[in-house]
Symmetry: C2
Subunit: 103 residues, 2 copies
DNA sequence: TTTAGTGGTCATAAAAAACTGACTTATTGT
DNA sequence: ACAATAAGTCAGTTTTTTATGACCACTAAA
């Protein structure tokens, strides 16, 4: 009767991983904004009061790495980079909506 | 054309509040375990490897304060305290399940 | 009255996350 | 060649979370 111990590594809680992707000071906010259209670094920085370059930059990178956002570089006049919701990201929208409706 | 700024206080992202309730090292795990039945402090401490009194204690308190868990004191032999999912907590189960199925 | 079990708290230390300001790279326009 | 704009990075500091170990309260049995 060896009860399997719960650890941080074996990740017994399947929701934990996904929750982790959205944990971080501005990630839920960034995700929500991304639902309404592509995002740009400088706009986020402007619109989210109290945010800072470092944190927004890291959040965008992590959201991209986790596959929720997609980064698109547009070689234009002063160089544009846009972040779109990926397919995986879009799949999360209904869950997100459900969370919103819970309050 | 005064664009409303997004701040931490005005909480423009409705999902953020709820996500916050489940953010913290062992909260998703504790919630998941609570779905399967009442929890006890010492059992959690035993079963969750790498956890510690302080963190479990705080997590339970915060989950209770946020209304997801309900604390029940049973004045028995060596004193028992159980944590049950509250009605609000139960309402969260489907969202949680959806999160689990996304992986 | 000492001991054991359960359920914690408290002060402090260590680790992780977020903030700050200076600096960097890339591109186009002058 | 130089300035302007966008999108960052980097080193260092502050703040927030977690972890550790000592200690406390309650109950009941020996």
């Amino acid at each position: 009767m060896t009860t399997k111990k719960i650890t941080n590594d074996n990740e017994t809680c399947p929701a934990q991983g996904l929750l982790k992707l959205l944990s971080g000071k501005w990630k839920p906010e960034i995700f929500r904004l991304a639902v309404n259209g592509p995002l740009r670094f400088s706009s986020l920085l402007r619109d989210i009061e109290g945010s800072n370059k470092q944190t927004i930059s890291l959040a965008l990178k992590e959201l991209e790495e986790s596959g929720l956002l997609q980064k698109v570089t547009i070689k234009q006049k002063p160089l544009h980079i846009e972040y779109y919701l990926s397919e995986n990201g879009k799949a999360l929208i209904p869950v997100f909506k459900q969370l919103e409706n819970m309050i």
